[in-house]
Symmetry: C2
Subunit: 486 residues, 2 copies
Amino acid sequence: MDLCLTQHGIYELTFDIGEVVNDPFDVSVTVEFSHMNEQRRILGFYDGGTIFKVRFCPEQAGTWNYRVSSSHPRIHGIEGKFHCSECHADAGGPVRVSDKNGFILHNGERFLPIGTTCYAWAHQDSVTRQHTLNTLRQSPFNKVRMCVFPKWYPFSKDEHRYTDEPRYYPFERRSDGTWDFSRLNVDFFRRFEECVEQLLRISIQADIILFHPYDKWGFSSMSVEEDERYLRYVVARLGAYRNVWWSLANEWDFIAEKSEQHWDRLGEYLRDIDGHQRLISIHNGHKLFDYSRSWITHVSVQRRDLYLTTEEVDGLIDRYGKPVMYDEMGYEGNIPYAWGNLPPQEFVRRFWECYVRGGFGSHGETYLGVDRLLWWCHGGNLRGESVSRIQFLKQVLGELGPLRKIRLSWDDVCGGKEGEYYLFYFGNSQPLFRDIYVGEVNEYRVKIIDTWNMEIYEQDYLIKGDGRVNLPGRPYMAVLLIRRDL
Amino acid sequence: MDLCLTQHGIYELTFDIGEVVNDPFDVSVTVEFSHMNEQRRILGFYDGGTIFKVRFCPEQAGTWNYRVSSSHPRIHGIEGKFHCSECHADAGGPVRVSDKNGFILHNGERFLPIGTTCYAWAHQDSVTRQHTLNTLRQSPFNKVRMCVFPKWYPFSKDEHRYTDEPRYYPFERRSDGTWDFSRLNVDFFRRFEECVEQLLRISIQADIILFHPYDKWGFSSMSVEEDERYLRYVVARLGAYRNVWWSLANEWDFIAEKSEQHWDRLGEYLRDIDGHQRLISIHNGHKLFDYSRSWITHVSVQRRDLYLTTEEVDGLIDRYGKPVMYDEMGYEGNIPYAWGNLPPQEFVRRFWECYVRGGFGSHGETYLGVDRLLWWCHGGNLRGESVSRIQFLKQVLGELGPLRKIRLSWDDVCGGKEGEYYLFYFGNSQPLFRDIYVGEVNEYRVKIIDTWNMEIYEQDYLIKGDGRVNLPGRPYMAVLLIRRDL
């Protein structure tokens, strides 16, 4: 018995191969962990010097046996076992798909993702990173989209530069300055995994973007062999953190060098090497991926239209039979691009549309301020008006079960569970009243929800049959009906 | 020479057949008017007692000859001529289609339609009608959609009734109370044509809706023979008013008894009997009509989606090659239905989208107030906030030529004439600036237009090549570039 640890923690094995090898990232290390009938095949990774490590996150309590297979004879065949004590997983994960309508934690509780986006927060200086973590801790968000690779894109902290060079890079440079994609930068990944761990401590899912097109270094156009080596390394190093989700690519179709077939094969490869079976998806630019592919656990989608965004959520759920994370519906902000200059009212409207239709959304903020830190890229502080409304939405949703699209009339946007609860959302309409027919059998309590001013009024009469709900004639109202006895 | 009149006026012939006949609406009266090489075949109509009339609106000055053909021997074969003196048509019409991008007046000036909707104004009492005309006179509108048949629909002036019974009906009742669709009510049409004439006096186009589904009397489900008799009568009585447009039906597909083929045949019939060749279109409910049909002069369209409306305008222009009147994009108001409870900001946004994309729109207001008069139905007074913004839009457009969709980048909404003027519209985006590339050749003056606050600022530097336009970071902004020398 090497070590005692609890369920959902990380069991880390360290091996010293006793020599420095030329190609440490091509030394194969795989550990087979087994408990009762369950077996997990977990990759190890090189951690500098003569050291290799294997990280495993057991989902079952009890005694686990393991056996190492390696291309290095010094560690091949090592066996051992450890005891894992019971521990209820908290909101930190692991998160799994329950059905097409949602996600579930290991303890059986529903997980309601409320995402945000800080693509390059892990590449910022330590003070900015700490600001980001402080902001996240006080926010409604429980998932953050973040890139492994640094990001080459407007807007930089220095207004005279296109973007900022990162402090650390994921690969080593050769003496001539070119990149050696076969040698990963261990220091870079130690820093990166610290960010993932910091998120875990505050119960935030790390939606890790493995590839992206905002690149000037060539990281988006490596060979298949290099892509796979990189994936093995990231999966081995980070996959044991139970808050990890894999986002194979951001805007996959904006990486001109790689076809949909490439991503499909790479997605299968990722699924096959990840013994922890974390959630996997891929995020689009202009073109939807085929989310019916078996390696994709959930839909992670960006809007493709200037106007229609989260209105398509219920259609996507029906089409793919998987939960829909609308990871990019535009951002609250004031930059020139249409995806990044939404007023908070419109952004919150899209968020409500998304959840009422049974989906889940990700927030982002792109305000150009004097510090030139854009939350969506750098992290830091939030300054928008949508975040408090998203907190309010989260409270409203927290008191309900899952929402499934319900269509009572052509102009309803309604989610709920028929016969129990109905959440209607009226977007920017401003009706003075609305007649709602919810059947003759049950009586319903009526709550009028002002989603912008974050106020809830209870109507002082119940409705049954064809009931009239009086509204204030302002936009951004919702109405919640809950069966009297619930 | 019977009478001297001017071009675009109405030349009216009156015939007394000297006897009361049983089926006056089936007495055929057709007059062939000819001038030089031009010939017009104009239907006559029964005007009560023993009187038949023929109304003709000559578009050419000079001497016109005519010859009557009739099933009644007393007037068959009558011939005559009259002189028509020259007169420039004013904004009252007639309006013709110039090309797929617009309309033109007879004097060669561009006609820029800015519509509104008062479906049942002609059926209201005289005081309300006078209020409607006063409101229209002071409004930016130059076209109004109005029904011949009374309307059976919420909301009535009396809150305890579904709708109001009209004072007059277009058909006669039999002694048993049933309708005799073969006998039109001459008094009704005298009153109705007075409304059309009152609109002409204030240079407003009457977009006359010939059939509609808001019916409890059976007017929407007459036989083909009855429909045709009714059409002949309306065309003969009203077609000479040069401000008349024909809207064959409102929400044609909501009239369950009649197929698309029926409307297609009836549209051809209407085109064939109308010697004045007025504009003709047909307005949809959920299903677009095939606007490529030859009898349709322009597209008259209603939104079919809860969200996307006038964003489709440029697509419709390309698809049908005809001007697009977006006659129903939703209305500013506060009634329960999603089509009638838009806040003014969203309604004005749709209007701007429509015009910048090269289309034309119709306004409507559905505010439930204490007087229970909804502009969209009854007319009366306007109380919304969109009308002043539409006036402002009209001023902006009045200083430009036609707008054709220009696409400079994926998120531009821009109309104009390349190399001369560009009108960008940013909708509810709130960019702090925008970089616009309009070629290296010309310099452009830049006007920043706040479409909501109705203010225009001229930027104090010209742009050329890749030019930066600074914006206030608020929604509903437009930017107009005009080539320096224009």
